[in-house]
Symmetry: C2
Subunit: 332 residues, 2 copies
């Protein structure tokens, strides 16, 4: 591969002149410019993009950090973020914080060292002060990372309220809701507290079960589902994410229990998983594309040096279309 030095020598000019032409900066005589372009062509010189980015002090890369990309919600989110970033001319660097691995600090370091232009955090394991002190473009999906860091989430309160009302209207008296680890500071905690509040107001029993910290794998969901079925054999209604709900339904089926007949279910997220049952599950849908687009809009805005208007963007949830109010996964 030809170097910039070889191009300069071939064109009979200095390296600085070639650099000015490549970066479109400073004055270069038209005839000299033509000579340089000719040399670039003849020597098949490819300008080093790293050097160009260094010159402009940007990388064109946004990092996206999620707990686990194989989880359907994050898979669909990452898919949508990559498409939105591309449309703004950015590339996506992807990181899983999977289980014990904690790479968030490394990525914050990369942001500080300008190896990436911004980070979208869909995982949150550090102290809020760590994120705050970076003072560089950050957007959080469903995480409270401090007062100056924009957060994008759905209106979880509304989601929790609708779910509780649907189950209670369907006649449930003994509910179980599965939530994430409550120690994490996330707007999604609102959905569980609102669910609980509606149950308490209506005098309906509601048990809470939490997943372990940063565990979003199906092995964990299966173990948890077995536990729920053993501990709450009389539960007649469940509220959990699509992925966990499918595991709960499987654990129930093993015990001869059928969704619709023996219990009701309202799933949260509305990923493709919720469409795989026949008929479809009753679902509270998080509009994943809209969440992704808002995250990208806010990160691009910050990279461009503009102030972001809202600190917390709330996207509305909607009730997922299902052919019947509650899925009967198995037909008798």
């Amino acid at each position: 591969m030809a170097t910039i030095q070889e191009v300069a020598k071939h064109a009979g000019v200095g390296v600085a002149t070639v650099s000015r032409v490549l970066n479109g900066s400073g004055y270069v005589k038209e005839s000299t410019k033509e000579k340089i372009m000719q040399s670039i062509k003849e020597l098949d010189y490819t300008p080093n993009e790293m050097a160009k980015n260094l010159y402009h002090n940007r990388t064109g890369i946004v990092a996206v950090i999620v707990p686990e990309v194989s989880h359907p919600f994050f898979a669909e989110f990452v898919n949508a973020v990559e498409i939105a970033l591309c449309s703004h001319g950015y590339r996506m660097m992807l990181c899983n914080t999977w289980q014990e691995r904690n790479y968030e600090r490394q990525y914050l370091e990369m942001l500080k060292k300008r190896q990436v232009d911004g980070i979208i955090f869909g995982a949150h394991t550090l102290d809020i002060s760590d994120y705050q002190s970076s003072n560089r473009p950050i957007v959080a999906l469903d995480r409270n990372l401090g007062p100056d860091i924009p957060c994008v989430s759905v209106d979880h309160k509304e989601g929790g309220r609708i779910a509780a009302e649907l189950l209670i209207e369907a006649g449930c008296k003994n509910l179980v809701q599965v939530s994430g680890d409550g120690n994490m500071q996330s707007p999604s905690n609102d959905r569980h507290s609102m669910f609980q509040r509606v149950c308490t107001e209506k005098g309906i029993l509601s048990h809470g079960v939490a997943t372990s910290w940063n565990r979003l794998d199906f092995k964990h969901f299966e173990e948890l589902s077995e536990l729920v079925m053993t501990e709450f054999p009389d539960a007649d209604g469940f509220f959990a994410t699509d992925a966990i709900m499918l595991c709960l339904m499987r654990a129930a089926a093993k015990r001869g229990k059928m969704c619709g007949r023996d219990y009701k279910a309202v799933a949260y997220d509305g990923t493709y998983l919720s469409t795989l049952t026949e008929p479809s599950l009753t679902t509270i849908v998080q509009p994943i594309n809209q969440l992704a687009e808002e995250c990208v809009r806010l990160i691009v805005c910050q990279i461009a040096g503009r102030k972001t208007e809202d600190v917390h963007i709330k996207v509305s949830v909607r009730k997922g279309a299902s052919t019947e109010p509650f899925a009967e996964r198995e037909r008798s």
Copy 2:
């Protein structure tokens, strides 16, 4: 943020000397080195990693290109690749070639311009010559990109053979197999031709249905499943990937047909989807972690300038554990 110039001025040395200390290259007197380190600390200077990578002519980034990361197989593959790349000190840049979008050429350009150190291609839409001419580190997952580009896949012939034998042994006489677009040059075509060959040898009817080019979304799978059920109402056995199989099962359930009782099913891939039915589906498992680790091993090897030993690495498939030979998704 302090610049290297400010550090040099503060320490009373030249920029080149600071650069030598930062890169650990060339001789610098110990006392000068200490003075520079002190200035770096006092000014809170963060060395620009882009400049450092430029110096070493590497980015520390490997691009991974898949058709769609929200597809369960690619989601699990990308998850595993990211973990393996991290363990080798590399970051992952992720690209979807989703449907009409064709960004493979752009990424090949990035590879040429040294914005990434290597590419793992899990998608393939360009001419083989485009990949060949890059002459830079490339590994292909399940794609034939030419004689000099290492390919990693499972032993698809074995997979197709086992699937056909399982269905025929179970008494099926009228089979349907769903394959990818046959125009794509992929080792996975072997699985379909082997399936067909076993059927022909045993005198069993077998119909082939292909997905559309680069379509891996559930909407397409659902439409295709409806088509299969309408066109082949008497089919008594199906062979398709997990994701498509779940859609086929749903389309069958709509018509009152039950897996195990009315038809047999063998799924290919063995993603978490195949574990969501009760009992589990009979599955031919592609060991996704092993595929990911082989891809990463081969790309890291090439980046280090070493010759890769095998052009086509074949990983063995295995029959997935299921409690019964064929899933009965719905209990009567």
